[in-house]
Symmetry: C2
DNA sequence: GCTTGACCTGAAGCGCACTCCAGATTGTAG
DNA sequence: CTACAATCTGGAGTGCGCTTCAGGTCAAGC
């Protein structure tokens, strides 16, 4: 199975259950450098290696990276993510803390959404100055 | 009116229609340093000055800073804000561009909200692992 | 007259999250 | 055999948005 189609197998057709760094990057949208950075920072457990030392990402890694990105994109810091990961590694006794951490973050995201919805209102309001037929309002708007 | 109660007038009771930097900061929640920084970066027109060179913020300035903060807090960069301000200073011929700018930003905020709502879903999903009676799921969750 | 406190200025520094670099290794292709 | 592409490593560099600093002015209080 492994020695029959050397070329296609190891290079092209990735029927494998692992991904190269490049594939991982393409698949998750996270740059190779950032993937390494996350690993170095303890945001992912050490990735499996091939004989030559190259990383071999598993499908589980893909999922985890996606979770990571989701949390990062919503403002969780590297520091907090590291903490969350660490808890995960320490077993299920830390579950309450992990739950609390997620709940806190969830709330932060909700707050952020609320704030942005407020902003939308203000933007809409300001846009009326420009869409209205009358442009009687001076440059820096709210003035006067 | 101005010479009768020198002490109270100039120092304590601010029945004035201007604010000192400290008051401005307290009022808008933006630090004095940041206010100066915004001015230097061209995000606000030069602030009026007292005889001694100290800034005197007007109530219009308060409103403008609030708009600024709203846009900043929703991810508009200093660069973009500067551009927006510049347009404002160039008169009403730039109104279409300012409108477009706001519309683009509005869309970005909407996208961001959508993304965060997605994140909430994922967080909720992950939280069920911890709230459920069974904790059959290993630390880094999605694995296996 | 001296001190204090609020403010001024230009410039340097900081924290975060990447991002890039130099130099080395390794496996396949021509 | 040589060339090339993908990857490796530790460490330095980058960009953004402030924040801090050093040194100075000025008005009021003791």
């Amino acid at each position: 199975m492994k020695k029959k189609k050397t070329k296609q197998e190891t290079r092209k057709t990735n029927t494998q259950n692992w991904l190269t760094p490049a594939q991982m990057s393409a698949c998750t949208g996270v740059s190779i450098d950032t993937l390494r950075y996350y690993e170095k920072e303890g945001l992912v457990q050490p990735i499996a290696r091939a004989a030559n030392g190259h990383r071999r990402y598993s499908k589980a890694d893909v999922l985890w990276i996606e979770v990571l990105r989701c949390l990062r994109d919503t403002g969780m810091t590297i520091e907090q993510l590291r903490h969350y990961c660490l808890l995960g590694e320490q077993g299920e006794t830390t579950e309450p803390e992990r739950l609390a951490l997620l709940q806190a973050h969830r709330q932060k995201v909700l707050d952020s959404i609320a704030k942005q919805q407020e902003a939308i209102k203000l933007i809409d309001h300001k846009m009326t100055y420009y869409t209205r037929t009358s442009h009687s309002v001076p440059p820096n708007a709210t003035k006067k």
